[in-house]
């Protein structure tokens, strides 16, 4: 195992543990670590909204920029001052969310294969965010702005791009003029617009994008910013004076850390780090990785064009086209570049029901590496071997806690590509074929490796999404357990508790009537 794989694996375990801890406090839907992308977008909207107000009151003359922004904090603290503070703190939080999002996606291995496009389009956004953030500090034109402007231009001048050193623009008090700030404001508006455009491209291949986090999460983070704005409102430093070095500055370490880094190393080292990190991020998806799994395959004869797979695919890999053999019908078409091989489409297909009498179960859309026919055969084989008073069938997820080791004399265990791959009719089928209870083990709320697998499963079980579990199936014989990779022990414990509950409360009438697709 390579060093990179070890690092990534450990980082994933760390993230999983923290996320599980946060789940206990926030719940999956409000867990900030499970919604870092959406959280970042929310912070960006705060920046846009507050920035619009700041722009309207900004005077772009040399003295005007400082006094007009200062006016907000001093005289109009109740509105402009609060909005200015929100603008600053949301920008720091945006950078924090962006970097955590990057590290988390890397840790979970979400950067190669079908996710290559999202990863690659995300990398330039980091540049845009930092360019926008650093430039934003200059507009205030206080001592911090002076320090950052000089430090940035000195860093830029190391690159062989400019005929004349850009730092000469900040050489002496008479070096700058009013037009500088007009240009800076346009850059500070233009770059975020490019960032928003880049974000659109970044999420372009994902369906049902979380453009905003949950209301609780928005309220919690916004309240945090407002408290900060009240306790430590964003204030300007003393006015810039190019005749005196801006020596002691209250640095924003989220955005301006690059300046001290340049001072303790060198411009060459910093550029090597910046370009090296950028190249590494672009190159990461092309490093050796496990071979991609087989993609979903459509069987024209069994596809009735219902579009459920199209609706459920988390990556917009399925489109509907005119069926070649059935007039008036559609057929699902799988885009190989977008398919995540999650099998959620197979779980959504109405033809995936195991109650069909054919010896070989062929469904409308299926996974070659784990066809529903094989799942049915596996289930029937294991059910036939089960003994004991309380027989359980455990359906698990390859990305979550491993369920294979749970198989025993009274437990059948089948691990799926994703829990969302399980057609709900398999639950009824297992119960009517001899199982006393069904356990579905999957990723934590909003922690599905394929984004929507557990959500669709939950909605199907609650009769809110097609194909739904039939109402006649007793819910008390069904247990959904959230268990990630490192939670096999917790899963086993939860299963045993469920078994005990079933054994103590077992009522024959709640079990659906026996069924066998084979004539006895």
């Amino acid at each position: 195992m390579s060093l990179h794989a070890v690092l990534r694996g450990n980082a994933q375990i760390l993230f999983e543990r923290i996320e599980i801890f946060f789940d206990g406090i926030f719940g999956g839907a409000d867990n900030p670590l499970r919604h870092l992308g959406a959280l970042g977008l929310f912070f960006l909207w705060i920046l846009v909204a507050t920035g619009l107000y700041l722009y309207t009151v900004l005077d772009t003359s040399i003295e005007g920029v400082y006094s007009s922004i200062g006016y907000l904090s001093q005289e109009q603290w109740y509105l402009g001052g609060v909005l200015r503070s929100l603008h600053r703190y949301a920008s720091d939080a945006f950078v924090l969310a962006m970097m955590l999002h990057l590290v988390r996606e890397w840790a979970y291995g979400h950067y190669y294969g079908f996710r290559l496009y999202s990863w690659v389009t995300g990398v330039p956004l980091i540049w845009l965010a930092y360019i926008s953030g650093i430039g934003g500090y200059w507009i205030v034109w206080d001592r911090l702005a002076q320090f950052s402007a000089i430090a940035t231009t000195e860093l830029l001048d190391w690159l062989p791009f400019f005929n004349e050193p850009t730092a000469r623009n900040f050489l002496a008090p008479d070096s700058i003029n009013d037009r500088l700030f007009t240009v800076l404001v346009f850059i500070h508006i233009g770059i975020p617009l490019m960032l928003i455009l880049g974000l659109w491209a970044h999420v372009n291949r994902i369906s049902r994008v979380d453009y905003l986090p949950s209301r609780n999460l928005m309220a919690g983070t916004l309240a945090s910013f407002l408290v900060l704005a009240a306790i430590a409102p964003a204030m300007s430093d003393a006015p810039a004076n190019l005749a005196v070095a801006a020596n002691e500055v209250k640095l924003d370490w989220f955005i301006l850390f690059i300046h001290p880094l340049t001072d303790i190393t060198s411009p060459a080292a910093v550029w090597a780090l910046i370009f090296g990190a950028t190249i590494l991020l672009f190159a990461l998806p092309f490093l050796p990785h496990p071979r991609p799994q087989a993609i979903a395959v459509v069987d024209a004869a069994n596809c009735n064009g219902c579009s459920r797979c199209h609706a459920d695919c988390p990556y917009e890999a399925i489109t509907m086209a005119i069926h070649p053999d059935k007039p008036g019908h559609k057929i699902a078409i799988v885009d190989p570049d977008l398919c995540a091989s999650c099998g959620i489409c197979a779980g959504s297909c109405p033809s995936s029901t195991p109650f069909r009498s054919q010896e070989k179960l062929v469904t409308g859309i299926d996974m070659p590496q784990q066809p529903v026919d094989v799942i049915r055969q596996d289930l029937e084989t294991q059910l036939a071997q089960l003994g004991g008073s309380t027989r359980l069938v455990v359906f698990g997820c390859d990305k979550g806690a491993d369920v294979r080791g749970l198989a025993g004399t009274d437990t059948a265990a089948i691990s799926l590509l994703c829990t969302g791959m399980l057609p709900p009719s398999f639950i009824e089928y297992a119960l009517r074929s001899g199982a006393d209870g069904i356990v579905i083990s999957g990723c934590h709320d909003n922690g599905c490796d394929f984004r929507l697998g557990m959500q669709w499963m939950r909605e199907r079980l609650a009769h809110q999404r097609e194909p739904h579990l039939r109402p006649s199936v007793p819910q008390d014989r069904l247990q959904v357990i959230h268990a990630s990779r490192g939670e096999s022990r917790q899963l086993a414990t939860a299963i045993e508790e469920f078994r005990k509950r079933l054994a103590s409360q077992m009522v024959a009438s709640t079990k659906p009537p026996a069924f066998s697709r084979r004539k006895v």
């Binding site: 719940g27 002496a172 945090s224 005749a243 209250k250």
Partner: protein, 165 residues
Amino acid sequence: MVKPAAILGQAILYGAFAAFIGYFATSPTYHQIPDDVALIKLSMSHLGGRECRKRTAEELAALPPNMRAPLDCPRGRSDIKLQMDLDGKPAFETVMHPTGLSGDGISTVYKRFEVKAGTYKIAVRMNDNLVNPGFNHVKEEQVTLKPAQVLVIDFNPDKGGLFFQ
């Protein structure tokens, strides 16, 4: 129903988030240079000289009327030699090359020196046409620098050549 423990946990974590953002948004304070240090910024942007030859009357007559420039100047510019001494000791010396693919652009330099606040005798010499020996621009002055003061040494023909600001 949210448990009280979860509410307390959320309050603590949102508070930690706010504290983390709030602290690193302005702290710790950064000192780029020690308190008793001043800066000297030696920077200039100047076109090097070039050797022009006066065309003879015959040469001018041979040219089309609209191209009869009296001087024949090469496109390229001379390198510029620059020296700076602090209290009589060499502190910096460079030869600035003209920019541009044809060497016809400006020659530039930007150097920042950190020096202890105090009085210095600064001498700057520049030769902007290396065909000629020696230095055709010289500026020598005693300056007293306060802590954090920025002294700019620049060149501007309109300000008399080399100047301290």
